[in-house]
């Protein structure tokens, strides 16, 4: 099984030199810690920052400089600030190469739910709906099952949808899957995880073809 850090580490291998990347809150944020050597990416934070740097030192903390998760951050050389309309202009016009976000559920058409549990929790969609409606490449970082062991990779979403047919790849604690027209295609297995475990934990259509390699760290 992959830890949260390993999920982030595996997703970081999808980064390409020159990419503009938007990382969501939670596991996606950790991806920034594993950018491969020799690859330069620019992080976009939708509250109005391009070129986000690491967390500040105690001395560098600036209440006016935060990321979309409301965490204090820093800027890197070449960064820029802008208003929220300009930020989402970048997103809707397809300038952001890769979006990584968390999900409560994903179905085998690539629909995603991550903003609301009716009657229980109302947090809101933040920028997620704009991102999933326009991003060229969306990778979801999530746990394969919920606390009760029920699959979060479904035939049909049970929660309100955030965006339709947008997820391209899912990296979970169990495996890496691509979303294809035929459903979730198993591409890689986490160390120590069997194909049967993935089958049991996946309610949506699952495609298993050929040898499935193990993720190497």
């Amino acid at each position: 099984m992959l830890t949260k850090q390993q999920i982030a580490q595996r997703i970081a291998r999808e980064l390409k030199d020159g990419y503009y990347v938007n990382l969501g809150i939670g596991i996606p944020t950790l991806v920034a810690n594993y950018v491969p050597e020799g690859i330069n990416v620019t992080l976009q934070s939708e509250n109005g920052l391009l070129g986000m740097g690491p967390f500040p030192t105690e001395e560098e903390i600036d209440a006016d400089l935060i990321n979309a998760g409301k965490q204090t951050v820093t800027t890197l050389p070449g960064s820029s600030f802008f208003d929220s309309a300009t930020s989402f202009a970048m997103i809707r016009s397809g300038r952001v190469d890769l979006t990584v976000l968390g999900a409560m559920e994903v179905n085998d058409n690539g629909d995603i739910a991550n903003w609301k549990i009716p009657g229980k929790m109302v947090k809101g969609m933040g920028g997620a709906m704009d991102l999933v409606a326009s991003a060229k490449n969306i990778i979801v970082a999530m746990q394969h099952t919920n606390r009760d062991g029920e699959s979060k990779l479904l035939k049909k979403l049970t929660l309100p949808v955030t965006g339709l047919g947008c997820v391209k790849k899912v990296v979970t604690d169990l495996c890496v899957m691509e979303v294809t027209e035929r459903g979730f295609e198993l591409k890689e297995l986490a160390p120590g995880v069997s194909i049967d475990q993935v089958k049991t934990a996946t309610e949506g259509r699952l495609i298993i073809e050929g040898e499935i390699p193990e993720i190497q760290f």
């Binding site: 903003w115 947090k123 704009d130």
Partner: protein
């Protein structure tokens, strides 16, 4: 016309029950702290507030929620406020949740004389319910309308006596679009200087959009997630 007022109480004194207000800020970053306190003291009720977030329990718009001054919130993310969630789940508060880019663009459209626009965000979701949809070049979009707001209340870093504004870092966020969108726009600034002292090359919001301006006091600038290396 004289735009400078002496303080927040003077700036907000004509705001009345039932009005629609835009309040700048992202989380607690770049919020008009002084005006929020003045609105709490003024005690106006039944407000509709357009703001990306709803503050936290004891700061920002959370203070207005605690005083039951807000009838309806229009926001994109409200996850940091337990009192908000309680009032909402109990049906004491109305909420309209919108995609963040849609919220920003509805402010921008309002300030730009654009009555409506089409966006892909929210197509096929609850957000699209009751809204016109249209296909352009094979992709589906929903129509979103400009907001109508009585007042826009924004926070800037520097401002001058003509109402020109400069924002700092990510405290800019929704403030510039909201400044353009208010029927009346109030700007509170950390530093107010005479007209002519700010370099015109670096003005973010031209003074034409600002009706009242004052230098705020005692900025707390609370940090929600104090993360260090």
């Amino acid at each position: 016309m004289k735009k400078v007022v002496s303080n927040a109480s003077e700036a907000v004194r004509d705001i009345q029950d039932g009005m629609t207000l835009m309040l700048g800020g992202f989380g607690l970053c770049g919020i008009p702290e002084n005006c929020i306190t003045a609105l709490v003291n003024l005690g106006v009720k039944n407000l509709t507030c357009i703001s990306n977030n709803a503050g936290v329990d004891d700061f920002g718009i959370g203070l207005m929620l605690k005083g039951r001054q807000v009838k309806k919130m229009i926001s994109s993310y409200v996850g940091e406020n337990a009192e908000f969630e309680r009032q909402l789940l109990n049906g004491e508060l109305e909420v309209e949740l919108l995609p963040q880019g849609t919220l920003a663009e509805r402010c921008r459209a309002s300030g730009a004389g654009i009555p409506a626009f089409f966006t892909p965000a929210g197509y096929g979701t609850e957000v699209a319910e009751g809204k016109e949809t249209r296909e352009f070049d094979g992709k589906q979009y929903i129509m979103e309308k400009a907001f109508n707001s009585d007042y826009a209340i924004v926070k800037a870093w520097k401002g001058d006596t003509d109402g020109n504004l400069i924002f700092k870092a990510t405290a800019r966020n929704f403030n510039p679009m909201m400044a353009m969108a208010g029927k009346i726009t109030i700007a509170e600034v950390e530093e107010l200087v005479p007209a002519g002292d700010l370099d015109p090359n670096f003005i973010h919001t031209p003074g034409i959009f600002v009706n009242k301006i004052f230098q705020g006091v005692d900025y707390e600038k609370r940090i929600e997630q104090r993360t260090i290396r």
